[in-house]
């Protein structure tokens, strides 16, 4: 899938651009490069509808002079001179940030599990076989079930970074992902569920998300009548339902720049208890096999594992080099430095601040779903939500909708509810009585990074509004 010389080619491109920066007499510069290749299949109406392959990539150039920075990106390294000039022009028009310099070279141990050689050897035929297996599995689980949408794909990315400060690093990561929208359209009722699995390592031929998609399309059929009055009630959110909301609100609130700029609901609360006292939040940039982990962050600083909230108490925050220098220079904080939390969206953007592989754990451990239902007694299970991206990361407030919701009474599932609103303030809900499940799943993110979260039972702070 990936050409043998992919890393060499982009590393040479970085050197070429770096040499041009030196020739221009630029004090500090940094060049990043990404080149990705992959195969993917689209599935529609129970069949593979399209097979695609290809590659893309480019270079990003950051230049710094006297604390002023400029950035530009391009596709072709051999025509970098205009882009360098553009970045310089921007730098010279930008305000100086006192103390801002590009990070120095330091040691960074490799992180295991980010590249699976088996994925590199996969071709379109392998994906077609996997698609066959998935479609067969869905039909075998429920003859009424159809994969109405989704797809699967494998990819490999060669990346490199080179800077005037001696940072020079390159490597290959792989990915394998699969997602399916399973619908059951029978007896004048259509139910559906989208589920997916992805990771750096080769997935099972039929990953667990397949059975889960069929299960949720099945169990949400035949809605029961419930009291339509809005009610404040305990809610058990599955990992899949909880992660999008959590990722929209919580990691963002822990960015150092937002904390010191009063843009976080946890601003001014460093050292204080902000979550239930059994809960801890950890950003692990070195997680083995982590979807967002890497030996170095987006500006070449060695990645690290950092506890941000320890047993409920806010003890840390996430910083990149520039954000730290800027907030110190502007007097919002006396001291801040990079925590290895620079993230990039690719070659088209300069590094910002964000999380990598983010976890929430409880010192009380995890509970089975049966145990959580027993503790909840009366309430709801919510498995997915619509509108998580509309949650307010500044306040933690959210108001979303769900069509995969089950009514629970006396610890037993009574049946599905057709549709309901779910609202509350996530920061407040997580600061009261919270119990975690024992099955951590990996989900994507609306901000940066990947979420590693179990089912979460929130006993207070949430409102259900049945349709």
């Amino acid at each position: 899938m990936l050409p043998d010389d992919a890393v060499d080619r982009i590393s040479e491109g970085c050197k070429l651009i770096g040499d041009l920066c030196k020739k221009e007499g630029i004090a500090q510069w940094e060049v990043v490069a990404f080149q990705s290749y992959g195969h993917q299949l689209d599935i529609e109406a129970g069949k593979v509808s399209l097979a695609a392959g290809g590659g893309e990539g480019g270079y990003g150039i950051r230049v710094v002079e006297d604390g002023r920075f400029g950035y530009a990106y391009l596709v072709d390294a051999t025509s970098a001179t205009p882009a360098i000039q553009q970045a310089l022009d921007v730098a010279r028009a930008s305000p100086a940030i006192k103390g801002f310099v590009l990070p120095s070279a330091d040691e960074a141990d490799p992180v295991n599990g980010l590249c699976d050689r088996r994925i590199l050897d996969l071709g379109p035929e392998d994906l077609l076989e996997q698609a066959d297996a998935v479609l067969s599995e869905v039909a075998s689980l429920d003859q009424r079930a159809v994969v109405t949408g989704g797809g699967l794909g494998v990819g490999a990315t060669a990346s490199a970074i080179l800077s005037s400060e001696g940072i020079e690093s390159s490597g290959i990561t792989t990915s394998h992902g699969l997602g399916v929208q399973v619908s059951i359209d029978a007896d004048d009722e259509l139910t559906s569920s989208y589920e997916g699995d992805s990771g750096r390592q080769l997935l099972a031929q039929v990953p667990p998300c397949i059975a889960s998609a069929v299960h949720w399309a099945q169990v949400t059929r035949g809605p029961i009548e419930v009291n339509s009055e809005p009610q404040d009630t305990p809610v058990l959110m599955t990992s899949k339902g909880f992660s999008p909301l959590f990722s929209m609100v919580v990691p963002t609130a822990l960015r150092g720049d937002r904390l010191v700029r009063n843009e976080s609901f946890w601003s001014g609360k460093q050292g204080e208890v902000v979550l239930a006292t059994d809960l801890s939040l950890i950003d692990d940039g070195r997680m083995e096999g982590g979807k967002s982990a890497s030996s170095r962050d987006g500006e070449g600083v060695a990645s690290r594992r950092q506890t941000l909230v320890e047993e409920g108490r806010l003890i840390g925050s996430m910083w990149s080099t520039r954000d730290a220098a800027q907030q110190v220079a502007e007097g919002r904080i006396d001291h801040a430095e990079t925590t290895g939390c620079a993230v990039r969206g690719g070659h088209q953007s300069p590094p910002g601040t964000g999380c990598s592989d983010f976890t929430m754990v409880s010192k009380n451990g995890g509970h089975s779903q049966d145990a959580l239902l027993e503790q909840m007694q009366d309430g709801y299970i919510v498995h997915s939500v619509m509108g998580a991206h509309t949650a307010n990361p500044t306040s933690g407030d959210f108001s979303v909708t769900t069509s995969t919701i089950l009514r629970v009474s006396e610890g037993e599932i009574l049946g599905p509810v057709k549709q309901a609103g779910l609202s509350g303030n996530l920061a407040k809900a997580l600061s009261s009585d919270v119990r975690l499940g024992d099955d951590v799943q990996v989900q994507g993110s609306y901000s940066s990074g990947s979420m590693h979260l179990p089912d979460v039972l929130m006993m207070q702070g949430l409102r259900i509004n049945p349709a």
Partner: protein
Amino acid sequence: MSASPNDDRSFGTGRYLQQTKIQAALDHAQDLGASYAEVRLMAITDSTVAVRDGKLERAIPGQDIGVTMRILADGAWGVHSTTDILSLPGQVESTVKLAKAVAARRASKDRPVALAEVPIFDDEVHWRPKKDVRNTDLDTKLHHLMTLHDSAAEDDRIVSVTCGWHDEHLHTELMTSEGMNRTWSFQRSLINATVTGRDGGDVVSYRTRHGGEGGLEVIESCDLGELGRSAQIATLRLLKSERAPSGKLPLVADRDLTGVYIHEALGHPCEADLVAAGDSCLDGKLGQAIGNSIVTVVDDPTMRGGYGAHPIDDEGLDTREKCLIKNGVLTEYLNHRETAHHFGITPNAGARAQDGLHHPLVRMSNTLIQGGTHNDLDELIEDISYGVYACGSRGGQVDTGRGSFQFAAQEAWLIENGELTKPLKDVSVSGLTLQILKDVDGLTQDARLAAPGFCGKGQTVPVGDGGPIMRISEALVG
């Protein structure tokens, strides 16, 4: 990696694709058994600028280029996308093979993919802006951003204002095995602000946007001082707002929210690729009354100035207005050539791709409900004893198969006895498409596009949404 255009700056004369080589590649695909092949290139020259608290945060000039080859062989698609334009002819054989491998797995019950016939053009179409945004220097962009910033920041309770600018010049070339050979270009420009307010422990944020198809004139047409002041006032109001009541209530939506509503609730289920996949609640409902007779909805990419406007769709068809609902009756799906053939209907140029590296999907453009008979907001709310007036959009989402949707408002007011009373925050609205279209019972006369937006469907494309102020007799408000 890439070829260079003959003339990057002018509208009309620059070409990236080497036509002789691409034509040979298309011919080669047909020699290998392809029934159709196309090569579509998109080159984007863009600029992103951000100002935070009155200081330049970042300015990023960029150039992107991507090309996608789509080959139909034995009734199935094979696709190859790359930033390495010159490598494309070397991928013809593997892409034909890919398509045939997909076709070989097709079950006997499944129909092979075929394309509806379309007129063939060999031309260039360029929507020239009044002021080419590529000629706008950084100082000018900063001037506009600072105008917006300064007007939004004028209060001690405003703790942060972040303003953003994005402009792009989009140049597309399409060559097909049918002889289509079109080049088109246009521009988009956008400015936005996110305002954060704090009062004690309460933190709120409000965002505002202005933009559309066109160059610098799009930004210059906006009173940015007023836009900023409105955002500041709304932010301060949110600090004093109460949480919205929950339950089934009469809802009045401003044109921003009306636009998002119609985009999510109706537009997506109208996309023919979702209908064909069995993932739309509107499957089989063409010609049926699905809404109140006052509801007429159009999707119109030819509406110049709208953020979703474009002259030609990504299969090379001239764009045109589509009437999705006429007086409550579902009249048309949005389609592309494949789904037009599937349903035996006329292609209506609904194919859009995010960029040169993505294949076209059925997408919306500028979607709006047409105006009704009510004069103004006062007339719409005068007989509501208890309800909610919701304004501005924080986005929405839809489950097209189940036909359920959600959208969130930036702010709202409680309606009591025909009057707007308390300001509210954190209002979201949800419902079922097939129910709520029937519950639209009032529309003001003045329909127009609202703030620009973005639509995600695996790929992200800019869209315009809007309409008049709309009343829904009962909606689930949270």
